[in-house]
Symmetry: C2
Subunit: 554 residues, 2 copies
């Protein structure tokens, strides 16, 4: 009996690194290949990817990759995944033109040039093995966002991607509710829907409501205006530019990703730059303060972002001063609150005015609220529901919304990463789970969470390291040079100088007694030194730096 | 001419580590001795204290220490400061009885037993050198909170401590507005007021409004109820106990600080335990789920707290399960959002219901909002104003509130830590600043921010460490043993095994060429090895671990 398998390798029980596998007759379509940013405990880690061992093991079964939209949590892992799979397969990648342009730019950075990226328009139908693929136009905080319909022998799986039902989007193209309703009428087997704002009641505000509020805020500013938002929120950037133009201000873009996204967005017609408005960063000082708007990256307080550098008076082109107004047209992503607050307080210290979403409605979320999730459920009328893109809380709440619109509790599958929903003619159930989890990107390499290096770095970062080098004679086994004691990162050693002498004495003593007992094996000597010195250091310092004895035989 | 000096060593341009010096005729009264908790960049640091070098240098001038209330950011640094000053002076410490009981408990933990702690009641007058000290009863999120009036030759300095004007506090004792008004009528020279909620409009809600909402939430729960809040918020704990008693539920306290604070609070009459309600943690399972309320620490998601351990199913006494309701009767302190969200999501994963302040008004801030700060200004009618306890933003906004009630902008002093406000008969102005900043507590020791160990730990935690030991002959200068290459915390070295051989070759090569050039000085050899190896490692790994060459001469 033919059966359909749907599983998420990321995005369940977490916000981020979305990656879904839809599978039938041994053929796989991967929807989204996203990443997450590390938490502070992940010391020295740059990025977190889904553990995609499952894809590696089934590489030859992969028919295609489909990307719903160009955000990092849906697209960002693509270079790493394609590089790992390249030995066996390089599947084609499908998505909207902006999404594919952003994918191209990412792959170029990783020097991955032989990937077949296919621009799709909503409504185009493509055969992908056992499935027909269709994209459905949706609204979100980046243009070209799509839901993905994969229709096969058993019915249609609809993956919403990230979405809201914005009735008045900036580009005048609301989500294609007609097509969703049509799919619903034809019968949707499984809905995998965005849960990000399942905990917010009502309907999300429209993106186009933000523009007039930005203009009001701008109108009250006497000096320069610096607006920060997500660089990929191209419609927001459009509205900032329009508000600036309406008030006869010039606009400069600051920050690499801001310039890049506006460049791509403008080439593809998603943003219209009114003639004579845009100026270069180096021209900012040529205009009076009340004639300038700067659009900058850094809305999340990111350490190397343009706004953060401005706030620390460390930006090469923009020197902030009293009278400047900084407008945060974004809310902090959970976890970034402290970094954002720090940036805001530095701005106050400089004497800037700071306007945030607490002061005016100058941000709108890109994710639909509870009523929109219900609308989606009612439009699509799915046989089964699998809430996606959310931590346990939001997945639970999304399930409650599905029950509220009349879906049978037994048809709602609250899953975790790696759990496999198996659907056949008899029904749907969870099967044997597959491997799922995190893999870390550190610099340009990837590794797994059990990496000993990470444990070592935690230890090093907590209490530092003691290195003791003992040199013994191959002939006599006795010490032939004064032991070297080196420490790095050990707190307050200034006050513990004599400890170094004690350690040297302990080394000599331990070597002598080992020698007397006939111990000559270097590994055993090292172990003995380690235990002796670790105990001594703990006794004296009440902390446990890494103790690393090196015994050299000459 | 006699002059008064007021300076903060902490609490300006930051939230936390409040510490103020009030000084006249070479005599010093210190008001509050608080600490802060470290940010994630402060790797391996446990606590942050104000840099109190100024007190160390003027130890013999210290007349007394006064503590406004028992929170860590006002009291927490007391043991460290007293220990450092002990060689020269052990000043008496004044405060309300609960505050002094909490101070005693803290000093006991540090084995500081010879400190003279003096219980003061509001209205008591004490001579402290050139000042008369009086405490004024205020309301805050811990009982026994007081403002401090220090009256001297030039007039009265009023330090509000943390406060709100709760008209219906749980213990029926509102802030002593009459005494504040009387001081105002007599003439207050300088007001140093709490700015924590200067950015919130209106009046803060009363603490006693929380109880009925807690009872409503409890009434809807079918299973066990776990309430988490700050352990020092004794009136909140009272309200939880009362709500539980009203619904005929037993109450157990979990978490060391919760039991300790309720113990002290109950001894001093700040909390009333209704007979037959309290049960021990080990008795919880003796009662049906719908007859139990557990009050627990962990409202901030603290890693070792009771609630966090429950959420990770790791608590010895409380095993959470589906049907339990967890009530967060607190909001996350900025910076703790992520830890709180993680805890909440673990609870959802277990199947608990979670109620936060987004669901019901079950928390009230202990700090007055903008209208209360204005009320304080109008009651006290100060000649000069120095906003206290706030980051730059809140200090700026507090200054604007002072202007709004008619205080001359030139009489409002927005200061930073270490800035000295000098007041004499001619007026007030900032004088020469004194040293201020942070000192770190790491384990039991204290050090300063410039500690090289912290820099090293950052580097170690980012990319790990390479240690290379080269052994050369004192006679010939040539290498006499195979170089040792050891690495710790360097990511993904599994895949770079041959790098170790390359490093060994580079060491031999560098030693040979140095030898050929006649370089014999060990320091120079080490430097050369360092540069050569750092370049090699970066070229191969594209990261910069600490490279530590050790040259041993035998």
């Amino acid at each position: 009996m033919s059966s359909l398998r749907v599983l998420a390798l990321g995005g369940l029980g977490e916000i981020g690194k979305n990656m879904t596998v839809v599978e039938q007759d041994g053929r796989i379509v991967v929807v989204d290949v996203g990443l997450r940013f590390p938490t502070p405990e992940m010391i020295g880690i740059d990025l977190v990817l889904p553990d995609f061992s499952y894809l590696r093991e089934h590489a030859n079964e992969i028919e295609a990759i489909v990307i719903t939209h160009g955000h990092e949590d849906h697209l960002g892992a693509l270079p790493w995944v394609l590089r790992e799979l390249a030995a066996k397969v390089t599947p084609p990648v499908y998505g909207g033109p902006l999404t594919m342009a952003m994918a191209r730019s990412k792959l170029d950075e990783h020097k991955l040039r032989d990937v077949h990226l296919v621009d799709l328009a909503p409504g185009d139908e493509i055969d992908l093995g056992p499935f027909k693929l269709e994209l459905i136009h949706m609204t979100h905080s980046i243009p070209d966002s799509c839901a993905v319909a994969l229709s096969g022998e058993l019915g249609t799986v609809l993956l919403t991607g990230d979405y809201k039902f914005d009735q008045t989007p900036v580009d005048g193209e609301p989500a294609d509710v007609s097509r969703l309703a049509q799919l619903g009428a034809e019968g949707v087997l499984l809905l995998c829907g965005d849960s990000t704002n399942a905990d917010r009641e009502g309907f999300s505000p429209s993106e186009s409501g933000v523009g007039p509020h930005l203009e009001e805020v701008f109108a009250r500013a006497d000096g320069r205006i610096i607006v920060t938002s997500f660089a990929s929120n191209i419609h927001r950037v459009q509205q900032v530019i329009d508000a600036a133009a309406a008030l006869d201000r010039k606009v400069a873009l600051i920050g690499r990703s801001m310039r890049k996204n506006v460049g791509i967005g403008s080439q593809l017609g998603h943003i219209e730059l009114p003639p004579g408005v845009m100026v270069q960063a180096r021209e900012i000082d040529d205009f009076p303060d009340d004639r300038i708007v700067i659009i900058s990256t850094g809305s999340q307080g990111e350490p190397l972002s343009a706004l953060r550098r401005m706030a620390y008076l460390d930006h090469p082109q923009v020197k902030l001063h009293e009278g400047d107004t900084v407008v945060f047209s974004a809310t902090p992503i959970p976890g970034n609150e402290r970094a954002v607050n720090e940036t805001v307080d530095r701005l106050y210290h400089i004497g800037c005015d700071v306007i945030t979403t607490r002061d005016a409605p100058i941000h709108a979320s890109g994710h639909g609220y509870a009523e929109e999730l219900k609308l989606m459920l009612n439009l699509v009328k799915p046989r089964y529901v699998m809430p996606f893109h959310g931590d346990y809380k939001r997945i639970k709440l999304h399930g409650q919304l599905a029950e509220a619109v009349g879906i049978d509790a037994a048809s709602i599958f609250r899953a975790e990463n790696g759990m496999v929903l198996e659907i056949d003619k008899r029904g749907a159930r969870f099967g044997t789970p597959v491997q799922a989890g995190m893999i870390f990107v550190d610099g340009v390499d990837i590794g797994d969470i059990a990496d000993a290096a990470l444990r070592d770095r935690r230890m090093l970062s907590a209490d530092g390291i003691f290195i003791v080098v003992a040199t013994i004679s191959e002939q006599s086994g006795g010490s032939v040079a004064d032991p070297e004691v080196i420490f790095r990162g050990v707190p307050f050693m200034d006050e513990a100088g004599e400890l170094v002498d004690e350690i040297k004495d302990a080394v000599e003593d331990a070597l002598e007694s080992a020698f007397a007992e006939g111990v000559r094996e270097l590994g055993v000597l090292s172990d003995r030194l380690h235990d002796r010195l670790a105990a001594l250091v703990y006794e004296r310092l009440r902390r446990r730096p890494m103790v690393l004895p090196v015994v050299v035989e000459v």
